[in-house]
Symmetry: C2
Subunit: 410 residues, 2 copies
């Protein structure tokens, strides 16, 4: 009698046949004795179609109205899944985000969950019902419908799992798990049977298509095991959890890559307090996220500061940084597009000697020049020319013998 929260993404409920397939999976699981709370997305391209409708009547649809409009997509799916379960003689009830107790702030279009009030869901579960919840939506203190922002519908199942103290959260999508590297780049990439929350977050470029980073953070905070798997195949998937086995410790688990990075360097920055804030605060005010930041050792009280950001933000950021550089008396600002980022991720690798050296050797032997290096507890990242990214992924995958199954998987 385990309590399980599941989530099915848009492609898993794209039409009536797939909805019936999902209902059959739920019926089997229900018959096996599990209590199920199931979060569903809008069918296939519904959300885009609704956005197109809004664009046809308004160039700048008001956020409140847009949220109500988009929330109807998930409402349609949840009723259809409940109906399909009824035809299989499974008791089921569908709830809106509001009925499911998902209380959010008032930021329409990108609301954050403030609290989950699970009383209604618990009451329905006690009556033996499968509970279907419209994902991606909640209700604000002003009793207005809110949406959590596109792509963030993974938040709902994890938040519900936390509030309901579920045994596990299962995210079903069209991707069957998290791989040791991007399979489109490295054909030998292997699906990981399990991975830690921290590794998952550092592997965001591999994992983000599978599980939204905010959902992974929430799972980590509440220690909810999350399975990401395909709804089209059985027995696959990757478990994201808190435990790391001794055997997995000190091992490169995955290689993340991002070929769409830009880089800004400030030369001759005065090495004194408040300088970093003077540069990064105006960027934050313009909603520009900065990724890796590297500051070289100070020479004669002047230092060089380099950071990476998304290519799409480069021109806006360059303008802002040039203005800031003038005010703090820094030197030249060099903006560079077309750089890429490759990271190796694994719990313990940063503190264990040898991993960084092996990484740099492998890249060097592949003829790749590293422009920046940055490390975290469980990650070593190199910035390089965009054109070197794929070559780097393959070289590192081979060097760390990542095509081999781990002992726990044998």
């Amino acid at each position: 009698m385990a309590l399980i929260v599941q989530k099915y993404g848009g492609t898993s409920v794209a039409d009536a046949d797939r909805i019936k397939h999902v209902a059959q999976r739920l019926a089997a699981r229900h018959a096996a004795g599990d209590k199920l709370v199931v979060v569903v997305s809008a069918m296939g391209s519904t959300t885009n179609e609704l956005l197109q409708l809004a664009a046809q009547v308004s160039d700048h649809p008001e956020a409140r109205e847009l949220d109500v409009l988009l929330s109807t997509g998930e409402m349609v799916t949840k009723t259809l899944v409940a109906m399909a379960l009824h035809t299989l003689d499974v008791e089921a009830v569908s709830l809106t985000g509001a009925q499911a107790g998902l209380q959010t702030d008032t930021s329409h279009g990108r609301a954050r969950i403030l609290a989950v009030e699970p009383a209604r869901i618990e009451r329905e579960l006690e009556r033996g019902r499968v509970v279907i919840v419209a994902g991606f939506q909640g209700i604000s203190e002003e009793l207005e419908v809110t949406t959590l922002g596109r792509g963030a519908s993974d938040i709902t199942p994890v938040a519900l799992a936390a509030a309901l103290k579920a045994k596990q959260c299962e995210i079903y999508t069209d991707v069957d798990g998290i791989y040791s590297a991007d399979p489109r780049i490295e054909p030998n990439a292997r699906r990981l049977r399990d991975i830690s929350y921290e590794e998952m977050l550092e592997l965001s470029s591999l994992g983000a298509r599978v599980l939204h980073p905010r959902a992974a953070e929430l799972a980590m905070v509440f220690n909810i095991p999350v399975v990401v798997a395909s709804s089209f195949e059985e027995g696959t998937g990757t478990l994201i959890h808190g435990g790391v086995t001794m055997e997995q410790f000190n091992k490169v688990r995955g290689i993340a890559d991002d070929p769409h990075v830009a880089k800004i360097t400030l030369r001759g920055v005065p090495d004194q307090p408040g300088i970093a804030a003077a540069i990064f605060e105006p960027l934050a005010e313009h909603h520009i996220s900065v990724d890796t930041i590297v500051q070289n050792a100070s020479v004669e009280r002047l230092t060089d500061l380099t950071f990476t950001l998304a290519s799409s933000d480069l021109s806006a950021a360059t303008k802002i940084v040039k203005e800031a550089a003038k005010q703090i008396g820094a030197g030249e600002v060099i903006a560079e597009d077309h750089v890429g980022k490759v990271s190796i991720v694994g719990t313990g690798i940063q503190s264990a000697p040898g991993y960084a050296a092996r990484m740099f050797r492998a890249l060097s032997e592949a003829g790749i020049n590293m422009e920046m290096i940055s490390t975290s507890e469980i990650r070593i990242t190199c910035i390089m020319q965009e054109t070197d990214v794929e070559k780097a992924v393959r070289a590192l995958h081979a060097t760390f013998e990542m095509e081999k199954a781990e002992a726990s998987e044998l």
Copy 2:
């Protein structure tokens, strides 16, 4: 600063262009100083598409889930109308049936409005906003979404107009008003400028395509003037109201026809108390509506009883009546399909001598045999062969010179 409740049907909001057209009409009316509450239907064929989706996953969709599913259709429209108004710099807010305070009973799929709690709408109107309300839906005491049943979305605007003490309720649709006869039968049929509630109800076969009879009853009870008009043309429509001018009194206002009627006759019914109940109670238990009932004068304590009903109910009703006839000791039961019904309607005509005689003379001269006659306060109805219905409509329209404009319209 009159408070007006409007309703736009599905064809009036069928696509983005028509929604923008409706928004322009509302903006002009708002600029003229009127306070507007606007009830909207689902876009075009949306409701049918949602029903088809439900049919694809379930042969018998549960009523609760179906109501939530169908309610999304009107939710989409209301947000789009509000967005379109915002682009015209008109302050607007869209509300669900629940937010608009439409409280119903728990009969999913055919709920009745129990009360309207207009506080939220009044607050929004005070802020100078146009209020857009999703039609066809409400919320039950159990806080579940309910729908008022298909075709009954005219109820919502009239109920809101009553609760808000609106000056007028305006129903915009693809039909431009109520005609003196069905224009497909009588090309000279004239659109009536105004009509009384009672006449409207008696003319149901002409009016039901324009305004649902339950809505007309509600308007009569609360004395709300209702204008039915086309959203595609300006300055047309028919006003349905309580006042009848002296000039309109004692005049045939419209000719109603229904060619799809069946007739059942019981011969040799014992003329004693309780007999009618013994026949009509079992029909009511089987949800069969009976229309005109005629009982002939008693001969030797035996009488003949004839009544009409919808053709589609004939075979079920015949079986029930034969059973009842056996129990009460009545004679033969004669079921007859393919009869039709033609009525002349006008306040005062029943009490004024001459109208019935002129009607019977006109039908006789047209070679039409009357099988039954029935009268109400404001109506005289003849039952005839189905094939005579169109001929009868044209003969009566000519006899009562209904193609001529009324004095009030000149």
